[in-house]
Point group: C2
Chain length 356, copies 2
């Protein structure tokens, strides 16, 4: 029988405990545990057996200290509950794993935490952060020191890397499509109270009136849509809702009630667009005959809805790939932090399915 089989040690066993139990030096234990050469097979087995019995697990800290870490990347995400983010995360995790990196996630969507809180929480444990922070790029990069931060969908500021989306291009695609299909009473449903990048005073356009209920545009997405709409002199209304399908459903319900002439709705994201589709059904509206609906994101969810959602689609696996490769370049020193090469802009495609 084994010398020590029972009793759960308060202190976990160390390499010395195993060495002592086996009557060998700690080197021999290292060699046995790590499959290193220069050790007799019988010794190795004996040591491994003892290690198992003692419940010995090498300290990842001691190991990391002496060997240099495998790289670990923080992933800061506002809400795992919005399918957009898992879709993105899935891609990041896959590519990162393939590189032998590990991903530490922080979903900061609960308990009133911010993207900056997430970075602060991650900072002590990671070598870099990729995140949708909703506007703390500078402070977050400061918290990370020299370790690279890649922000998505926000003003990059001092962040080492950034990925942005060309919403002007996207808005043009969608708005023009709506107009070309003869939609003349267009509404845009924006997300508010969101963790998405707000408009700064500079790019806040006082000429864009709040069309409904005195509320205004909240997001750069909204700004781009408004600009395009105004540019082609199309009357439109603005509504806003929290960034959930349920809230969007309610808001769109009110819209369809107040302005039954609405014949096209462009929506902040696909999840909210799903709510709009529901609201249209609630109101007895046929989509797209009575009213077209266009979402934004391109998440797989869109294809499961009825009618299937037309949307400004991002290739999310591609976005993830871009983030990971950018980080790789930054980490390797191949890309300079803050340089042009570290400032990516991706474009949406207009994917027409059934809803528009």
């Amino acid at each position: 029988m084994s010398p020590i089989t029972s009793g759960r040690p308060a202190k976990p066993a160390t390499i010395l405990d195993v060495a002592a139990a086996a009557g060998v030096s700690r080197q021999t234990v290292t060699r046995a545990m790590n499959g290193m050469p220069g050790i007799k097979e019988s010794t190795r087995e004996r040591v491994q057996e003892l290690a198992r019995e003692l419940g010995y697990t090498p300290s990842r800290f001691a190991k990391g200290l002496v060997q240099g870490s495998r790289t670990s990347v923080g992933l800061a995400i506002p809400d795992l509950t919005n399918p957009y983010f898992p879709a993105f995360a899935s891609s990041v995790v896959e590519l990162a794993t393939r590189r032998g990196w590990q991903i530490v996630v922080d979903d900061y969507g609960h308990g009133g935490r911010s993207g900056l809180d997430a970075v602060d929480h991650l900072a002590p444990h990671v070598d870099a952060v990729i995140g949708y922070l909703g506007g703390y790029a500078d402070q977050a990069q400061a918290a990370l020191g020299r370790r690279p931060l890649i922000v998505l969908d926000e003003i990059p500021g001092g962040a080492a890397g950034s990925i942005n989306f060309d919403y002007n291009q996207a808005a043009k695609l969608a708005v023009d499509h709506l107009r070309h299909t003869n939609r003349v009473r267009i509404a845009y449903l924006d997300a508010c109270e969101s963790r998405h990048p707000g408009l700064t005073p500079e790019n806040q356009d006082p000429m864009v009136p709040s069309r409904v209920g005195g509320s205004g545009l909240c997001t750069v997405r909204g700004k781009a849509v408004a600009d395009r709409l105004d540019q082609i002199r199309t009357p439109w209304s603005l509504i806003t809702a929290e960034e959930t399908a349920g809230a969007a459903r309610v808001a769109a319900g009110a819209l369809f009630q107040d302005r039954p002439e609405t014949d096209g709705v462009l929506v902040f994201n696909d999840l909210m667009a799903a709510g709009v589709l529901k609201a249209a059904a609630d109101a007895g509206l046929r989509v797209p005959e009575d009213c077209a609906v266009v979402g934004m994101d391109g998440i797989p969810l869109g294809e499961l809805l009825t009618p299937e959602l037309s949307t400004l689609a991002l290739d999310l696996r591609e976005v993830g790939r871009a983030a990971v490769e950018l980080l790789d370049g930054l980490l390797a020193g191949a890309i300079a932090p803050g340089s042009d090469a570290a400032r990516l802009t991706l474009e949406h495609r207009l994917v027409l399915r059934e809803s528009a």
Copy 2:
């Protein structure tokens, strides 16, 4: 100006570099960086400034080695792309973060990796693992040594903790509902080639014939459904598909073609049920009038579908909470590994919406 402002050091700065630059001892640097008392404010600021300039970041390994780790938990997940898993992960991440734990995720759904691969990958970096491994409980627990493993939805074997679902109860709920609403030609769509726990030889029932195309039941879920169906002597057919909405749509399409008399379909999970709903629409079937559809999982997606999906719902936040609390107990020694208290069984609720 600062003494060293440019040049990216190959070796990251250590506490000694900062101490040297500031002309103080490393202890003082520690005190400055960690907001510890017993240091002059001016010194603290000077040191912090220098640290920033040198790009100094305390080594998490050295820190962990000396302080004892914050606990880090691996989360092994088969596919972030199935909304079920992010919903679960969201809950786990929230509760874990609240405890100051960090979560390292591994989505093993890509590149032919298994749940065991995921655990092997996570093992060196974590103090425990929570995961849907799809059947490697014993080997995974062995890989973790004394560190607790909590497996979900599989035979727990030697895993320290486990969470299972009472599929017999669930199957009864759904099947009986279908029968009580006079569905007489019921089909069950099972997931195959899945990472879900297969039937072991012991619980494989040779009396359950393969009803369609020579394929058989793959999952314990399927077994429970089959048992209940047979028990109440209801004729039924079995079809199988890969665990995606698209595959389910194709499979269900074939079913509706081959057996147009089918008036009720029970589906392995909600994602696949979404595909079945699509297939029904493709076939011109009205749901639930012509054919009822019942899913399993209770993910929010179900409410966005048309018709809204009736389903055997799990409270996923609750499942996450159970996993985290169980792990907490295990880690604290309040719950003994493998004991009854570490073997949880949760139940589904039948949530009736529009599709059945």
